[in-house]
Amino acid sequence: MSVPTTQRPTGTETATGRLGDITLLPDGIPKVTGDFAYSSDLWMDDMLWGVTLRSPHPRARVRSIDIGAALATAGVTAVLTHEDVPGSKYYGLEIADQPVLAVDEVRYTGEPVAIVAADHPETARRAAAKIVVDYEVLDPITDSRAAMSPDSPLVHATPTQDHYPGGGNILRHVRIRRGDPTLTADVVVTGEYDVGMQDQAFLGPESGLAVPAEDGGVDLFIATQWLHVDQRQVAESLGLPEDKVRLSLAGVGGAFGAREDVSMQIHACLLALRTNKPIKMVYSREESFYGHVHRHPATMRYEHGANRDGTLVYVKCEVVLDGGAYASSSPAVVSNAASFAVGPYNCDNVLIDGYILYTNNPPCGAMRGFGAVQVCFGHESQMDKLAAALGIDPVELRIHNAMAEGSLMPTGQVVEGAAPVAELLRRVKDAPLPAAAPTDSYDLRALPGGVSNTTHGEGVRRGVGYAVGFKNVGYSEGFDDFSTARVRLEVVGGELVATVHTAAAEVGQGLITVMAQIARTELGVEQVINQPADTSIGTAGSTSASRQTYCTGGAVQAACEAVRDGILAMASARGLSVEGAALRDGKIVAADGAAVASVADLLGEEIVEETREFHHRPTEPLTRDLGAPGDIGQGAAHLQFAFAAHRVVADVDVELGLVRLVEVTTAQDVGKALNPLSVVGQIQGGTTQGIGLALMEEIQVKDGKIRNPSFTDYLIPTILDTPPMQVQVLELGDPHAPYGLRGVGEPPTISSTPAVVSALRAATGRPLTRVPVRPEHITGT
């Protein structure tokens, strides 16, 4: 196999530390210094460059495509359209509804229509501009609520396969009914809330290198979240068996859900096989905004009924998510949105309708929080509103209704393990508040507007807000979610070395550290090597749903236990007594603590290697509405729930509409912190991403076109927008999970957004029903 001359991403080296130790990420320093090799750095001397021609229209019929002038351009080696896709012309994570290259219709602005390979990227771009596409432009369907109407034109006139029951443009309709939602209540509050389209805003654009192989297959070096799901889709579209499509993980510059879907993977492989040359593709920043899915914009309607004492009587919710042109992971996102629509509260009577629509907007899919983010803004806004209507402290109202171990979800699922909703809320409420802003002196950096010098304290009001949220860890609704790990123990140069191999994608979250910590702890060995992730081993599942430490950590643990059993069996075969023994510090240590043998001496030239799969406990699909009476949308659909609460203190310039967050306090149960520093890093980063959604992050889509596809115009928080954070980590332990751990990555993103807005409401007295909140919403102008 040809291998790119660019070095493997650095950072696969040995980390240090055992389980529970604070361990620095080995790829951290190379990333900061610029030495880390990202997928966009891949290079082979004889490679060609691939570029993509994209639709300028959100909805149009493709009458014809003329590639003649493009193909005749000097330096151009190939120009491909849908006619050149040998296998499946459609792909998708769950529903294969997305054309590899547009066939007869384009459904969103930026949809790939043709691909070009040339000896220079600029040559390829110029050739792509010579492709003549004859479009019959159609009126786009861009309003998700209007798209629900039976009168609406269809985004997919001929569905490529049976979707979920819904009909028309409804990609999926999740109905949850439990108890009696027709009850009346002492106090009723209603609200409508909107969430804008957020981008994952990873820094490393989509990129990779496809290398044709002598066996007629292809090797793809790619930044992705799930090698095997890419492999399946690439192989299907190439018309090749999966073993001829081999993927290796290249350096990933952030993901957050945006790398779950295929972007340039199939395109690069098509060009590589056509030209018989390595093909490199790297999206520009603008193209990247069109090249991956985004967080679904949402419109939500809520009605909460409660007794005078604050007890929730019923909750009704309708959430409408704009799925954009293709399905991506939308069916799972809307299921989550429905599951978590009430929030982590007890309520016996619920009526929830979650809709996800096809439109001609950019496709939306996975992003950190995955459906729980949107509804958390809804239910937490409602809890504040209800508290105000009842005259009850908003934190006490939440605690009064807080879910606990044994509570029932709206889906009827019993919440198992720790569900410390009340404790998380108490902790953030009881944490000391920051000092009041000084009135006799000012530091511009600490004021709304910061160094822009907009206020020296004039017009500034302080507000404090709270929110709590939760979501599922791992894949849900009956999906067989698992990971695979191979662990080898051997003596190299007189030293005991463990090698860990999985296909799990390290995307910056710190899994490589955790895998080494597990092996080091389980096998009592100092030196652990993580082998680069690739498809020569079984799937690890996706680096998403906060699941990788759970699932791949579980697989590494299982493989380590098998290796340990192998070592002990060897020892036993040599007449040593190993009853109850463990491996520690390179030795077999008996139950009484006495060293029985040196593992290195025992192994000699031999190698012990074991491969194990770890499947998490099965989950159930939600029951569907079959016209039968009784509860519907029920089932133990989720594996594990993860909870976090936030308190936000904000200084708000109520005259200019500018915000300075003074401090964020957050508490989260992580079950067991395998690498406590990574845990805090995840919580800080996730909280910041939620702050971004609250205050500034929005892809502005008008008439189906993204208006701000750059980091100049799509604003993400800078460090000046990011406040100090008090992070409280609880380790309450989940008896069902490896090491008792609970997924960490997503919960902080979920509750930080509504906590920020709650603080802004407290400061301004305004309802603020849409995120991101803009200055004119704060000033009411």
Binding site: P56, E122, R125, R126, S284, E286, G449, G450, V451, S452, N453, T454, T455, H456, E458, G459, E655, L656, G657, L658, R660, L695, M696, Q700, K702, K705, R707, N708, S710, T712, D713, L715, P717, T718, L720, D721, R774, P775, E776, T779, T781
Partner: protein, 327 residues
Amino acid sequence: MRQFGYERPEYAADAVALAERPEVRYLAGGTNLVDLMKLGVETPDLLVDVSALPYEFVQEDLDGLVRIGAGVRNSDLAAHALIRSRYPVLAQAVLAGASGQLRNMATVGGNLLQRTRCVYFQDVSKPCNKRMPGSGCPARKGDHHNLAILGASDQCIATNPSDMAVALTALDAVVHVQDHAGPHEVPLAELYRLPGSDPQRETTLAPGALITAVDLPTLPFARRSRYRKARERASYSFAIGSVAAALDVEGDVVRDVRLAFGAVAPVPWRARTAEAALVGGPVNEEAFRAAAEAELAAAEPLRDNAYKVPLITNLVVRTLAELAAGS
């Protein structure tokens, strides 16, 4: 991107001779031009790189006039001791713009000529009277959240995005220009044009004209001057409204004042109506507010940018109040 040639002359006359054709653009820091070339908004066939020209100076003449070379990088300008001490409003405005990396590249001349951030101007698939005269203006009914409330026309409501130019406008800066007719001077207030019926013409510069320097007249009371900028994050974002001000107070009376607004008009907006209302008047918030309101009486806000009227009013009151308190 269209293919283009590249020249890097060492003399201004050579640069001007190369640049007279409309397909030629000067390249300085490239922080705006190159982005626009990538978007296909600018399609020059020749770039004339002016970085070899001797315009990286800040100097003071015997009368106290400060001359800034057009090639001075934004970072250097903001850090210059003369600017920081005599014209703090200018140093603050420059520092409020862009990011550290961009300021290290961007020049004074380039900053003055940067183009609007209007999304329709930047999107070549959409009509735009500025980019394609006569094609129409979708912004008036479309996305105009950060577009003009003052000085616009039915042809164009784009805003000038510069922070630096707002401060220079308040300071009565004079621009040195070299064109085919030789060197001459243009008051900054006369450099920019309102869009009227031909929004594609943003300046009064002749084709191929090269900005070589900017003069700052002596203005002793500018030692007390301020730039305040409202934006949607704490750093590296364009203004949604900004105010540059210098205030001269004698006793309880405003003796003199300079006031300019950013992000509200197609040009850096000199608030002469407000200045006239203030001079000779009392030094209090009511007077400041009344002056701002007088200036903004001419505002024609649209559906989504009406917030700029109170935003600017509040910024004016605060900025002048701060300057007054320090007098």
